[in-house]
């Protein structure tokens, strides 16, 4: 009894303490769980994560996401850029989406979206819901407006801002949206040789280089302002700056704190050279190659050459993968890319001649020595704008759509994405 009376309170106390600890533990667990849920709820659907090694990852719905994409502009034979393919009752994206999914493509990029277009919304929704394909939406920022892109003019800026914010407002809640791209190769206008624009202050400056810097500051400041405004209405998606090569990005670095991603348009042939490290040094943001690729027409031999296209694309993707996050020796700042482009566009070579929209023109529009197989073509013009698709289109119709014929690049990339063989590290 004595023993029992002595032991009982101790046992009792011990059991009591156990209960307290257990309750406390449960409470702690609940708190951690609630905090976790709240934090997760706070995170945007799509965001950039900077890793401890200073590499960048794109996080989509809580998971890392490598952009394996294509620029999507499925203009049918006989139509030109003004054709609204999203309103096509034959819904070509359903065929395309299936083919894309089979190849491992998870993203498409639109250069522009029709304003308040419910068809486009449906297209985005269909691709995401049926095939898990996400969409990058771009805006030209009035680059092709007539009489010119007057970025120094406040009224012009306001007009563009309204267009951009309307677009964001209309599409932002679509679950398939990945991010926004502002501009394309608009920076090439800074030198005054293409789509020139100016202001009184710029005209007063006699030094052409300084004029360029002035234009860059005006334009990039405007883009940053747009990014800031977009984030106010859509915190769920990053904002990218579309840029031709890396030209002028040192200026963007000074005036674009609100830009999350750099989207580069690059045509450097077999690889991207020092692009990834150069970007790190000039404007340290994650990089998406929003336009790159190779055409499938040999302008020298004057015949289609699917192998040539596949060769360049495979090599380009190998380098993209070398520079993704956590690749030990890469720059770690690449998030992926969108190939130019999904299907051929037959209107491009001579857009003023409507009859030529129904002809697959073999004329080359510009020269690029990095695509060396056919650089000896007349006048060194070797880039055939109508032959960039990794999928060819046939004049023959199936259910109202031009029949899709995947090129070799499609298959080569499909295999690459299944098993991206990266070069093994040299062993010391």
């Amino acid at each position: 009894m004595i023993t029992n009376t002595l032991q009982d309170p101790i046992l009792h106390l011990h059991g009591y303490m156990k209960k307290i600890f257990f309750t406390f533990f449960l409470l702690l667990l609940a708190i951690v769980f609630i905090i976790g849920i709240t934090e997760a709820a706070k995170k945007p659907k799509v965001y950039i994560k900077k890793l401890k090694n200073n590499h960048y990852q794109l996080i989509v719905d809580g998971k890392s996401f490598i952009i394996k994409g294509v620029c999507y502009s499925p203009i049918p034979i006989g139509q030109d850029y003004s054709h609204n393919f999203a309103a096509d009752p034959n819904q070509p994206w359903l065929v395309d989406g299936k083919l894309m999914q089979a190849a491992g493509i998870n993203t498409i990029r639109f250069y522009k979206c029709e304003k308040n277009c419910s068809y486009t919304k449906k297209l985005i929704n269909d691709l995401y819901r049926l095939y898990g394909i996400r969409t990058i939406i771009g805006h030209w920022l009035g680059f092709w407006d007539y009489p010119g892109p007057f970025y120094a003019d406040k009224d012009f800026q306001e007009k563009i801002k309204k267009e951009v914010l309307d677009t964001v407002n209309f599409y932002k809640d679509e679950p398939g949206i990945l991010f926004w791209v502002l501009g394309n190769e608009n920076n090439y206008s800074f030198a005054g040789t293409v789509q020139p624009w100016s202001s009184q202050e710029i005209d007063k400056e006699p030094d052409a280089q300084k004029q360029g810097i002035m234009r860059a500051k005006i334009y990039y400041s405007f883009v940053n302002e747009l990014a800031k405004e977009i984030k106010k209405i859509d915190p769920n998606h990053p904002v990218a700056l579309g840029n031709g090569e890396l030209r002028w990005l040192d200026i963007a670095n000074e005036v674009c704190p609100d830009i999350d991603v750099v989207g580069c348009i690059i045509y450097r042939g077999k690889t991207f050279g020092n692009l990834f490290n150069s970007l790190k040094a000039t404007f340290n943001r994650p990089l998406v190659l929003i336009e790159f690729g190779a055409d499938a027409y040999d302008a020298y031999a004057k015949k289609e050459d699917q192998n040539m296209q596949a060769f360049f694309l495979e090599s380009q993707w190998r380098q993209i993968y070398e520079n993704l996050a956590n690749e030990r020796q890469g720059a770690g700042n690449c998030l992926g890319g969108t190939i130019f482009e999904w299907t051929d566009e037959w209107w491009k070579h001579n857009e003023c001649d409507q009859a030529s929209w129904s002809v697959h023109d073999t004329g080359a529009g510009w020269s690029n020595g990095s695509y060396y197989f056919d650089i000896k073509a007349p006048e060194n013009k070797n880039m055939n704008e109508e032959w960039f698709g990794i999928v060819a289109i046939s004049p023959e119709l199936e259910n109202g759509k031009n029949i899709r014929i995947p090129r070799k690049a499609y298959y080569v990339l499909r295999e690459f994405w299944k098993n991206p063989i990266l070069k093994k590290k040299e062993k010391k």
Partner: protein
């Protein structure tokens, strides 16, 4: 050579029968002997001593027939038989894969490229790395393997290229500190040079030249080495060896003996329409000559002209004008006197933008009582500058004088003058191309060296063709075409109105120096402008 002549490890019996075949040619016999020697080396285990040279020979044979897979199999078998040769065979397997990938791309053998390309790449890196690991930097094979890895990464333009270059350079430097054999250093320096890695190749050429100096103490040998590399087109190495040679002779010889040697070197490097030259290096030697001689009078008339002309073609215009002025002052009876004076006028007025001083040169020449193409051209320039300055009466006076003097010749300048006179008859407004050039060159601040404007050849015979071409650096514009207009003017020869193209071919019917003007326009204005001079002899 047919397929059966190449040893295939899977068909050794064929080799034996080949050996026994009495109809074997001498070449075939030699090839089989070579193979047998490799096998003998393998058996005796002395492969590493001899194998590399023999494998080189075998490699050449296999590569010439693009039998890369066969050679790889052969090497793998050799390694199996004698593991001591692992380093050598690994290197050659890597080298084979490297060449195989290049060949698949060149020959556009895409099926194999896409199906096996990644495997070959992996094997290349693994085997070359294996050689690096199995050898020390004192072994030339180690250097070659490093070099191959760097070449591979450089070709791929991948992220490993920078590290591979660092590893290569440090291993070469380590090797150079301990070994006397210069061949691997030269080989790697040449490779770096061919890939455009100029600073690294220069560094290695420096090491090579230093070692060469230690072993080749005779000046004659050094001179021979410098001349040979120059003749082979390796200007970078040649200048390094010449520097060492010059240092040596300057110290060893009195200036009476060293100066003529230096002058010969300077002339050989001076600009020429055909053959090798390095205008900058030539000028460096000319300066050295002046330094040693203690005065600019060290150069005779011909050398003075060569120096001025060399600077003109290097587009070092202020220097060129100074040297032409020196020639004018020191050699007033020179056969190049008028040419020098005229060129001084052109450079001063249009490039250095000093119209008054430029006009003085032209005026001096215009006073010459003996009529020549230079005198005529100078009068034309004086008229043109007056017209541009809106001094029409003065312009007309010059042009009229020119018309009087050229009644029986100088048709090209006469024709230009007639055009100017017609303009004066109207409102004096100069035609668009020429007016744009004058406006840009006399008023604006363009850097004339930006356009690579040239004539090929510069010194052209009467009625013979010369190609005028302009390479303009355009601002980047992606896939958007920049609309460019080429405005040519001046003495353009028979092709007096070339189409709006960056190049054209022309010929001249009259001797003298012909100025060629170019303005490159974009829709937003003048992009660049330039002037050049061809000499018709």
């Amino acid at each position: 050579m047919n397929k059966s002549q190449i040893p295939n490890p899977k068909s050794q019996t064929i080799h034996k029968s080949q050996f026994l075949n009495s109809k074997l040619s001498v070449c075939n016999l030699w090839f089989v002997i070579c193979n047998l020697f490799v096998i003998w080396c393998l058996v005796l285990g002395i492969f590493p001593l001899f194998a590399q040279d023999n494998l080189e020979t075998l490699k050449d044979k296999y590569f010439s027939e693009h039998k890369y897979a066969d050679f790889t199999d052969y090497l793998k078998q050799a390694r199996k038989k004698n593991p001591k040769v692992e380093a050598e065979t690994s290197y050659y397997i890597a080298l084979t894969r490297y060449n195989q990938l290049k060949y698949l791309e060149e020959s556009q053998n895409w099926d194999e490229y896409f199906s096996s390309g990644n495997d070959y790449r992996d094997e290349l890196v693994a085997q070359a790395s294996n050689t690096v690991n199995l050898t020390s930097p004192q072994d030339s094979l180690n250097l070659y393997a490093h070099c191959l890895l760097w070449q591979f990464h450089k070709d791929q333009q991948d992220v490993f290229a920078e590290d591979a270059l660092k590893a290569l350079m440090s291993s070469v430097e380590e090797y150079a500190g301990k070994k006397e054999d210069l061949r691997p250093i030269k080989y790697i320096a040449d490779k770096l040079y061919s890939y455009g890695n100029k600073s690294e190749s220069k560094k290695l050429y420096g090491i090579y030249a230093d070692k060469l100096l230690k072993t080749e103490t005779k000046e004659g040998e050094l001179k021979k080495a410098a001349e040979e590399t120059f003749a082979l087109g390796n200007i970078s190495l040649s200048t390094i060896i010449y520097d060492s040679y010059i240092n040596k002779i300057v110290k060893a010889y009195p200036k009476e003996k060293s100066l003529p040697i230096l002058l010969t070197i300077a002339k050989s490097f001076s600009y020429k329409d055909e053959g090798r030259s390095d205008a900058d290096y030539a000028e460096k030697i000319f300066k050295k000559i002046e330094e040693i001689a203690g005065a600019s009078s060290a150069l005779d008339e011909e050398a003075s002209y060569i120096r001025a002309y060399n600077l003109e073609k290097a587009k070092v215009y202020p220097g060129s004008r100074d040297k032409y002025t020196t020639l004018i002052n020191r050699f007033p009876d020179s056969t190049h006197y008028e040419e020098a004076l005229y060129k001084c006028g052109i450079i001063t007025a249009y490039i250095l933008k000093d119209i008054d001083r430029g006009s003085e040169f032209f005026a001096k020449l215009a006073k010459n009582p003996t009529i020549s193409s230079y005198v005529i051209s100078s009068i034309y320039q004086l008229g043109l500058l007056s017209q541009w300055r809106k001094d029409f009466p003065k312009a007309k006076e010059y042009y009229s004088r020119l018309m009087e003097l050229t009644a029986n010749g100088f048709g090209d300048t006469r024709k230009l003058t007639q055009e100017r006179l017609k303009e004066l008859e109207k409102d004096g407004e100069i035609e668009y191309n020429l007016k744009t050039f004058l406006g840009a060159s006399l008023k604006e601040n363009f850097d004339m060296s930006k356009i690579d404007l040239k004539a090929s050849p510069y010194k052209v015979l009467k009625d013979k063709d010369t190609k005028i071409s302009a390479n303009t650096p355009f601002p980047e514009s992606g896939c958007m075409n920049v609309e460019v207009t080429y405005l040519w003017s001046g003495h353009l020869g028979t092709s007096s109105t070339p189409a709006n193209q960056p190049e054209f071919t022309t010929s001249y019917q009259y001797t003298g120096t012909k100025e060629i003007n170019l303005v490159v326009m974009t829709p937003s204005g003048i992009l660049e402008e330039s002037i050049d001079m061809a000499d018709v002899e």
